[in-house]
Symmetry: C2
Subunit: 195 residues, 2 copies
């Protein structure tokens, strides 16, 4: 890899994002500041502000850019197994320490700061929704998903129960919980015809 | 109704809670303080602190105590109709102005303050979960709900998609959205046997 100006910029961006995560884990979201990240990363404050408008946007990018590929869907041809694997990875990453408390604080801030809410949706929720719908659409075409299932609701139905536990009851997000939710959603709440 | 000391205490409590909602709607959750509520309600600060440990606990109680009966389940014998009616009432109350922004800020604060999270769960989530499970259990006994449906998941599955929209995508909680979610949950995501 040649040390071009472009590459040096990418390196610096990565150093800033890694520093954000390290510092965030050390001192917590409330105390994290762009000034402190700049000082530890040896970067100018304005360099950071040129790219990120708030510490929420910086933290979100840092979480995602360094781990985005962890959240891609596998495609083994079995939709339930693939959803299970992807959601296990997602709750391992953003529902638990070390990143869990930072992500929780970020969602908390999104309740007050519309810029953080917009960044969360643009950078994370919308792309994940697109990936989820694409994987489910393929399953639907293959007859593995109810033909009438409303794909526009998929993200809310699949991830809503996880956010409910993460943000409201604040119990741990376990693989077992994910599996029980998936089982219940695929079977449905309605009574089944007698055989 | 006689003007007993007990009754005067209940009146004062109600005045404090009404004042909390009025002031919260006027100035927003961030600026709301127990001191300001006390001043406007003509009550002592310590009178309020004796009953409520934080402004989050006070606001939650104010929201709920004055409107709790709005969130009871009807029982017409039709579980889908009854869920729909109760959830419409719930999103009308806590998902929209005037109370919506206050409830949203409260859930935001629950991400930082464990006392607010505990109050939210004890005062609102746990009782609503009990009511929901009781109504669904009856429906299950009457054959209106899948016999194997895991009732312990019911609250997460029914309200998770609402919280996802309320807290994450932050789009309006409409009756139409509630109806689409209920339809999808009752039918289920799995493919249906060919007739």
């Amino acid at each position: 890899m040649t040390d071009t100006p472009h590459r040096r910029g990418a390196d610096r961006t990565e150093v800033i994002m890694r520093t954000t995560l390290e510092l965030g884990q050390e001192i917590g979201y409330a105390k994290l500041s762009i000034e402190a990240v700049a000082a530890r990363a040896g970067a100018g404050k304005h360099t950071i502000y040129r790219r990120w408008s708030s510490k929420g946007a910086l933290l979100l990018d840092s979480l995602l850019s360094l781990h985005e590929s962890d959240l891609d869907y596998p495609d083994t041809g079995d939709i339930v197994a693939d959803l299970r694997e992807q959601i296990h990875a997602a709750v391992d990453l953003i529902g638990r320490p070390p990143f869990g408390p930072l992500y929780q604080a970020l969602v908390g801030e999104a309740q007050y700061d519309p810029r953080v809410a917009a960044a969360l949706n643009e950078r994370f929720i919308a792309p994940q929704t697109d990936k989820t719908v694409a994987r489910l659409k393929k399953a639907q075409d293959q007859g593995q998903l109810a033909s009438g299932f409303d794909l526009d609701l998929a993200m809310a139905i699949l991830s809503g129960p996880l956010y409910f536990r993460f943000l409201i009851t604040q119990e741990p997000l376990t693989h077992e919980y994910v599996d029980r939710i998936l089982d219940a959603l695929f079977v449905g709440m309605g009574p089944h015809p007698q055989p």
